[in-house]
């Protein structure tokens, strides 16, 4: 019997007043906290008689340690961090300056280099970083200011009064598998905040709650996502220079799927490589973790990695619906930042700089709100205006139609991209429509039984243990750990759909798209199709793919007990 996590009812919860609560300690949340501290410090220095306090500004971070759940390629465009901390180059953990880039189109056995690097993939001036290390550093800067970061605490739901967000409830601790309080039970706190800032990363669970409650996405394109599956490797020296950046398109994907790979040379012969698969593919049997394994079997990639060792694994989704998919980002008592809002440049596959910038702009608005003691929709709406008049919009506007152009495959996509590049992002019309990714998934009855041209992408990877790995082995390298005795934080709203409908119609794609083996169909003779959904929630790497890709949209990802999750050291 599956029991799903929800806040325990009928308990008295400790209340705590707060000025600002930032949910999520990634680049957006940390930048927001740091900028807010800078503004308050400057204000206090100038106005000894009207001091503002930083004591009631809190960052909630579900990971046990700062940065532990942060995963990205990553390349850092320094534009925003240079605005936030002009001296960042002296102290930030930057692994290498980009010295060389190349874009390749792969076929199964060969590669073709693009004669010129498309302008949006030119990375001179950017840095190869580990987002985990970078955020750890940014978090230490926040802590120096005196702002408290509650690591190990997740936002489990938003608190409302009418049309106003009034706070955040943190996760209940010490709840057993069946939802009963254990001897160490501690109810979540109700943090009553003047300003709630959501910086949860892609497909934030509170952001989802907010968007649904106020139907915020009604005028936006549906957000579309990709899932990046990443491995960190140590390779023999001489294979790739620190600061060398490679992008590939093509194989192992066919022209029907959207996606591509990155390979970044970092320092000390560490290579970051990964594959982003658009979560709008047709075949439910496709397995993004397998796509990465296939990619590594390309002779050129295999040679690069030969004799090396895989040291870390992880997965994370990214929103690349672009400008038209961004919902309103501010309202009565709330603001949304970074990937939670959809601030990601889908052409450059970069969002860290936009996350930081959005955090800074939100901090300016929150600062004004504190000064005037006004966090109404009109006040916080300043953030919306700031975004629209900043370089965030400038940058995203140029690529506003990029991903939509690819909805009908690669060739159409390249045509539209070319057209958009010469028309300032417009292409054939100002706003291309989009369809949610899961809506592209086809029923098995519409697909060739043998998989057709996609056969090599379907089903679980076997792995040779050297170059390629099965999912469980990869998962082991994510360092994921959760309290085992707790309700499932993958909330399936109707398991009958899994057991009776999905298993027949789609063949249970959850088993394939989840990069962490959370979902499993086990034998059960009492079920009409002989299979029953079973969950391994403690495998979850918090990537949110299931919440996004499930064709029936009956999975909701909520945070597990705070502290659990992957350990993305160095990722």
């Amino acid at each position: 019997m599956l029991f799903f996590r929800k806040p325990i009812e009928g308990v008295e919860r400790p209340q705590m007043p707060a000025d600002v609560v930032i949910v999520g300690g990634g680049p957006a949340g940390m930048a927001c906290a740091l900028r807010l501290a800078q503004l308050i410090d400057a204000h206090n220095a100038a106005h000894p008689d009207a001091q503002l306090s930083k004591e009631n500004i809190y960052v909630l971070e579900k990971a046990r340690e700062i940065g532990q759940h942060c995963l990205s390629g990553a390349l850092l465009d320094p534009r925003a961090i240079a605005e936030l901390l002009p001296d960042f180059e002296k102290e930030a953990p930057l692994d290498a300056k980009v010295i060389k880039e190349g874009v390749y189109f792969l076929t199964e056995k060969s590669k073709f280099k693009f004669p010129i690097t498309p302008p949006f993939l030119r990375d001179h001036g950017n840095y190869v970083i580990s987002l985990n290390k970078f955020v750890k550093w940014l978090g230490s800067k926040v802590e120096e200011t005196g702002i408290t970061i509650f690591t190990g605490f997740a936002g489990s739901e938003l608190l409302f009064e009418g049309d106003r967000v009034t706070g955040v409830r943190t996760d209940d601790k010490g709840v057993d598998k069946e939802g009963h309080p254990k001897s160490n039970f501690e109810p979540g706190y109700d943090l009553k905040a003047k300003v709630v800032i959501l910086a949860e990363g892609p497909r934030g669970s509170l952001t989802k709650q907010l968007i649904e409650k106020f139907d915020l996405a009604k005028d936006a394109n549906p957000q579309t996502y990709g899932v990046g599956i990443k491995e960190l490797w140590e390779v023999p020296s001489g294979r790739i220079a620190a600061g060398e950046v490679i992008y590939t398109m093509g194989w192992p994907l066919t022209t029907h799927e959207y996606g591509g790979a990155w390979i970044y040379g970092s320092k000390d012969n560490v290579v970051s490589l990964g594959f982003v698969t658009g979560l709008d593919y047709a075949d439910p049997r496709l397995d993004p973790q397998r796509v990465l394994q296939q990619f590594k079997r390309h002779p050129w990639v295999a040679k690069l990695l030969e004799g090396g060792k895989m040291i870390r694994y992880g997965a994370k989704t990214m929103p690349y619906g672009g400008w038209w998919a961004i919902p309103p980002v501010a309202g009565n008592g709330w603001m949304i930042l970074g990937d939670s809002a959809g601030f990601l440049n889908s052409a450059r596959l970069k969002g860290i700089h936009l996350a930081i910038k959005s955090g800074m702009l939100a901090a300016e608005t929150a600062f004004d709100a504190l000064k005037k003691d006004d966090s109404s929709a009109a006040m916080l709406g300043q953030f919306q205006k700031k975004v629209e008049s900043s370089w965030i919009k400038q940058e995203l506007w140029k690529v506003r139609n990029l991903h939509q152009g690819f909805e009908n495959g690669m060739f159409a996509g390249m045509f539209h991209t070319g057209l958009q590049m010469i028309t300032g992002g417009r292409g054939l019309r100002n706003r291309y429509p989009a369809k949610a990714g899961y809506a592209h998934m086809q029923k098995l009855s519409n697909l060739p039984a043998d998989g057709g041209p996609e056969a090599h992408l379907l089903g679980p990877a076997k792995g040779d243990g050297k170059l390629t790995f099965d999912k469980l082995t990869d998962l082991y390298h994510s360092g994921t750990k959760h309290e085992e005795d707790q309700p499932s934080h993958l909330v399936i709203h109707d398991t009958n759909v899994c057991n009776t409908k999905c298993v027949k119609e789609y063949g249970s794609p959850c088993q394939n798209f989840c990069p962490a083996n959370v979902y499993e169909m086990v034998d059960d003779a009492s079920q009409p199709n002989g299979k029953r959904i079973s969950l391994n929630p403690s495998n979850c790497v918090h990537c949110k793919t299931c919440d996004i890709a499930d064709p029936y949209q009956i999975i909701t990802w909520v945070p597990p007990e705070g502290g659990g999750g992957p350990n993305y050291d160095g990722m």
Binding site: M16, T148, F150, F153, Y476, E484, D485
Partner: protein
């Protein structure tokens, strides 16, 4: 008359819980800061000897609150007895250690008296005439100062280790002990105490086992665990499992081997129907000898097994049990 602080020490089955000394130390410190009088109380069916033990400390007075109905411990009886006593004595502040027993009855007591409890405090401050208690929030990341706005008596409990029990000051002479009999009416006690539950010690310490028979998903059904158990019994070994088995509740969690369970290194490890995911292997790879039985000849467990048996474990194990029994009987 100055205000009074009353420390309710804890006894269970006639024995003083030593954490009570810490509460007395706390009471003495608050008394020193506020100038209030410090008294103590013991609640029980025969509290006299404990009252005498407590009276050695620097206290103005010790009350032995007694009733035959206070043994065995029930939250109803304790709350009723203390309510009666406190209503007549009207102390300003009532201190207790934050023990399981106190956590059991103090909410009831405070609610019955219409008062609040500041629980699990780690310290106090007395600032410009105001008494403030410190308690931890967010798992110790934040310390909150809390004070009473309600009328006395105020209730506060102190976390274990917040004060040092050995620092409780001795009195110059023994404090006077006053016995107070309380009347607990019939029908007040609705609780029927059962035998005191002690968390079962881990039934097995697998890390010490010399022989382990571990089962995995290949066992198929819960009832089949029995044959693995028979093999373990025949070998004189312990039964263990990979995660899916414990996840399904077929064996308790403390028998789980692997990255989310125990790490073992027995002389002999028999892996029955375990595929050998790395998560399991890290928990048993140090075993001296590994015998693996699996239908799938490509199961990763065979890469680390010393002896590999490819086959159906239901065909292999029963005769193996017979052979082990024969060998043992013969040897």
């Amino acid at each position: 008359m100055p205000d009074t602080i009353l420390v309710v020490v804890e006894q269970r089955e006639g024995k003083l819980n030593r954490v009570s000394w810490e509460t007395i130390t706390a009471g003495q410190a608050i008394a020193a800061a506020t100038g209030w009088t410090l008294e103590a109380a013991v609640v029980g069916s025969a509290p006299a000897s404990i009252a005498a033990e407590v009276a050695g400390k620097k206290l103005a007075k010790v009350y032995a609150i007694e009733s035959p109905k206070l043994e065995p411990y029930t939250p109803d009886a304790f709350a009723a007895a203390l309510k009666q006593f406190l209503s007549s004595k009207q102390p300003k502040l009532v201190l207790m250690p934050h023990t399981y027993q106190v956590r059991d009855f103090v909410p009831k007591l405070a609610t019955a008296m219409g008062r609040t409890v500041i629980s699990d405090c780690i310290g106090f401050k007395h600032e410009s005439g105001k008494l403030v208690f410190t308690r931890q929030m967010f798992q110790g990341k934040l310390a909150a100062d809390v004070s009473f706005t309600s009328e006395a008596p105020w209730f506060a409990t102190f976390q274990n280790g917040a004060f040092r029990g050995d620092k409780a000051e001795e009195g110059a002479s023994a404090a006077p002990v006053e016995t107070v009999s309380v009347d607990i009416a019939d029908g007040v006690i609705r609780n029927k105490p059962q035998e005191v539950f002690k968390e079962a010690k881990q039934a097995v310490d697998l890390t010490q086992a010399e022989i382990i028979v571990a089962v995995g998903r290949g066992i198929k059904e819960q009832k089949n665990i029995e044959i693995a158990k028979q093999l373990a019994d025949a070998l004189g070994g312990d039964l263990a499992a990979s995660r899916p088995i414990c996840d399904s509740g077929w064996l308790p969690m403390d028998r789980q081997i692997g990255s989310s369970g125990q790490t073992v290194a027995p002389k002999l490890y028999l892996a029955l129907g375990i595929s050998g995911a790395i998560q399991h292997i890290v928990g048993m790879k140090g075993s001296r000898a590994i015998i693996a039985v699996n239908k799938d000849s490509e199961a990763p467990i065979f890469e680390i097994a010393d002896y590999a048996i490819v086959g159906n474990l239901f065909d292999i194990i029963p005769p193996l049990i017979e052979e082990v029994k024969k060998a043992k009987a013969g040897g």
